[in-house]
Assembly symmetry: D2
Homo-oligomer: 308 residues x 4
């Protein structure tokens, strides 16, 4: 193993996004807007009610996104607005006025804290670390935790704390517990599984319910089990893809946030398919993470509503 | 089973969509919803105002789409709602209350009348005729008009009136005029240029302003002039595409409604590229036409707002 | 103008491709080239041997495609050439010289006879009928056979014989047998399942082994069983797709020839997904059929080698 | 060689590709194969001749790719083979036997030396640096040279030499000359323009003719001049893209190696389009660079032949 550049374990100053060109580009309009996020049982007059409360507080709506899940009979709304006074009071007012159970909150885009879990593959982690370095995530990566030490050098090159939590000789439950302990110090809002090759147990999933994002190498047709790219090759697929989804019980069954694909052909062996797959995986994971951190994603049962 | 429409030159009965499986599928929810379409200068409280008027008339909003063009300072809204009484009065009420100049109307999805202009290429026309036959357009094709007779057989197989308006020996203005005369009888809401190989003059465009949809074989990078696929081949492009857009003055400069692309490689000669291009062209044109006929498209200067 | 083929139930004359613009476009170079198709156990010197025999017979190679399946240790080659004398003798010479078992034949692109099986959905059938009408398939549709009468009108509009073989009250085996009987008269080289909603039994598949092409609505992740688009909706997928494949035992497990996808989002209900899926299905099926009829597809176990 | 800027606090050792999982994955089959690359005027019997010489030298062909540019009447061939003795002699033998002018060489995949030119945007450079760190380029980045100092920190984090060559107060010719001088020490085989915002003059282009790869933000339709993403927004395009191409005289007119696109809609402002564009740019540039460094790209006039 090469000597690790001096990064690790030195006291790291707070990371400052590097100057670059173009400067980190906010979604237009500029950051002076705020977000109101609402979901509640559907019913008549909800948009009128919500926009009325916002108007009462002097807020000007910039853009609304709404959706009604007709099966769940549930209403979802993301409102970007400028101006407004007494917004916490507005939130309380809405909580009282909307059908129950209702979730009402102001968006925190830009302020989310992330922890990344990884194992040995570097491509997704590196993608996130570069974006974090330049302030492009709408969130900050507070730590990388791995069951394997090999990504420490990469992580610390980017000034992000790395913690190895080896799983050797541990039960899954005990290892999950150790990772949860390690996470505690970083108080993450979201956990990102960047090719973390362990299946999380129910206790872990419950602890961060609706807050764990995973990237899965899924195909047309989907392959499960070991060596998915070899299976894809043997089946002769012409397209491979990747899926970013929230983790529920079971690693690969939660609500899908983003998917993308890339064409392959018979000349592509399993290694070529894996390489093409890695490019898709990292872009899809980064996109899904951006959507989540910009408060664009709501969960409705097994589906993710994505206001893109 | 309906009687089979007689072939060419006989008097055509009204076309009856053929029974098929699956039946023509409406966008969910079912047809009992209506559409309200609004655009006006932007300002505070518009959503609250509009939803208030709808609520006053007993309408329940199913889904809203809104957009503000910040450069034009103009607000666009498409509201799908169920129920409601006195809707014409609601429209009048809104017209009076909104900032001026405002456009307010109820959608007519499903009731639009189309005329198709074509020349000699059949792929786009055939695509539209099949969809028309099965009631999938959200509109009806009332006539096909061409400057060349070769598509008559195809058109009349589908029971649609065909009219040839040859251009030989005519000035562009005179030919445009003759086509306008032929169109008059069919009272079309929209004109679809399905590979119509003539450039429309300003008088024609003005007569159907904002109501002419064209399909253009555009590339990466875009090619103009004669033999675009040969140019694309000689430039060695790896992707070709198509663009459906509204016609303004100049055939290929109006607001873009839909675009799509397909990969090609060095093995593809100009004829292969043209063949691949045709598949993209017809799907993109049909998609754009559906979006327009479902009242999902607003024009804002050089841009099309598409609530898909 | 050509005489219009008589409508249903009359005796059909040979279909004549309609004049159109652009004329049916052959893959460049023009039709004066021929194809040599070889597959045999891999070994040293095969390309040298084959090109030597072609040169001996005065043939000039225009383009070669080669592939070695390293797992099956099998060599595949498609050679397009111009000129050459005594080609049947060249084929015999190669058969004698190549490692056994070897398949050697001259391509028949343009001369293949097709039979289409369909049920009630029209979109794939209409796509194939339009392309057949204009001579774009590199093959001719000799008949459409269906277990349901509803597509007869569409089929006969295009001058293609239609035969209904109802399955009511029949076992699968008996119905398969009846369809096989009906097919016999048309001597098809390939069978195309254009949304044929019956599972073919082993006897049928064996009768046309490696010669049955199917279109399957497959998704990311793949869904099986009833109502696939409803399942896709409930799973909240962001991409849907389609797969054209050869039929082996079991309807959806054979070698994949072509796949494509289209993005969807949470606004798309099951009916929207089905509509988007239909556009992909028909284009993918038509593409796969073209590849097969241009002699570009070889089968190697569970994989299709596609020289595109 | 320039001194390595002090990274965060430590002196940087020579960079050694980091251990990771999966290990850098060669295209199958493994590295024991070699490449023969030939282009020459087209004529009869070329494949037979070339495969004969290889066979004479005991080489077993693994895979051939061939192409004939019919307009230029030129033949291109890439042969991957195993075994073989006296390969330099085989190359000489082929040079003597082929029609002139012929280029014949053995591939150097894995051994190419790269220099990257950048300005202030980090996304393409970071993508290449990560791949370089893990040995995924089939080449090594020897240096990054920029007309601006801001990317020094990023570059040196990855242990790659960085050299600033400011252009202030210099003519384009003088600055080009200074960059050429700086490049000399690194003896690059290829120059990669990773968002280098300067137009190279004819002398520079001539010095590295056919060896400069650029990434261009091209659109549907293509936009030129300043602020391309703003132009794209104002035109209301639904797709944006990127093009990797060789540089000839004029920055954006050389042979295209790879292109890709991403959909956008009316909700995407210029900054959103730029962000989406950056993801496409970096993946397309990295793909094109891999194709070049795997000896898969031949130039034929204004076109790139890509044996992928």
């Amino acid at each position: 193993m090469p000597s690790i550049p001096a990064m690790p374990n030195s006291s790291m100053p707070t990371i400052v996004p590097l100057p670059s060109e173009p400067a980190p580009q906010p979604t237009e309009p500029a950051g002076s807007t705020r977000l109101l996020l609402v979901d509640c049982p559907d019913g008549p007059g909800l948009v009128h009610l919500i926009t009325g409360v916002l108007a009462h507080h002097g807020a000007n709506i910039v853009i609304n996104h709404e959706y009604v899940d007709r099966h769940a009979v549930r209403f979802f709304m993301r409102t970007e607005f400028s101006g407004g006074d007494g917004l916490d009071e507005a939130v309380e007012r809405l909580r009282a006025a909307l059908p129950q159970p209702a979730n009402v909150r102001l968006g925190r885009s830009g302020a989310y804290r992330l922890a990344v879990l990884a194992t040995r593959e570097h491509h997704c982690l590196a993608e996130l670390l570069v974006r974090n370095l330049y302030g492009e995530l709408g969130a900050s990566i507070e730590a990388v935790i791995s069951n394997h030490p090999s990504l420490e050098t990469l992580t610390t090159r980017f000034g992000v704390p790395f913690q190895a939590v080896p799983h050797d000789g541990m039960t899954r439950e005990a290892h999950d517990e150790a990772v949860l302990d390690a996470l505690e110090a970083f108080a993450p809002d979201y956990i990102v599984l960047a090719k973390y090759m362990r299946v999380l147990g129910p206790a872990f999933v419950k602890r961060y319910e609706g807050r764990i994002l995973n990237i899965h190498h899924s195909f047309l047709p989907a392959f499960v089990g070991a060596n998915p790219y070899r299976q894809a090759f043997e089946r002769g697929v012409k397209i491979i893809g990747a899926t970013a989804h929230f983790v529920t019980e079971g690693l690969d069954a939660g609500p899908i946030v983003a998917q993308a694909v890339v064409p392959v052909d018979h000349n592509d062996g399993p290694a070529d398919m894996a390489r093409a797959g890695r490019d898709v995986e990292k872009i899809v994971l980064a996109k899904a993470l951006r959507l989540v951190c910009e408060d664009r994603v709501f969960l409705s049962g097994s589906r993710a509503i994505v206001f893109d």
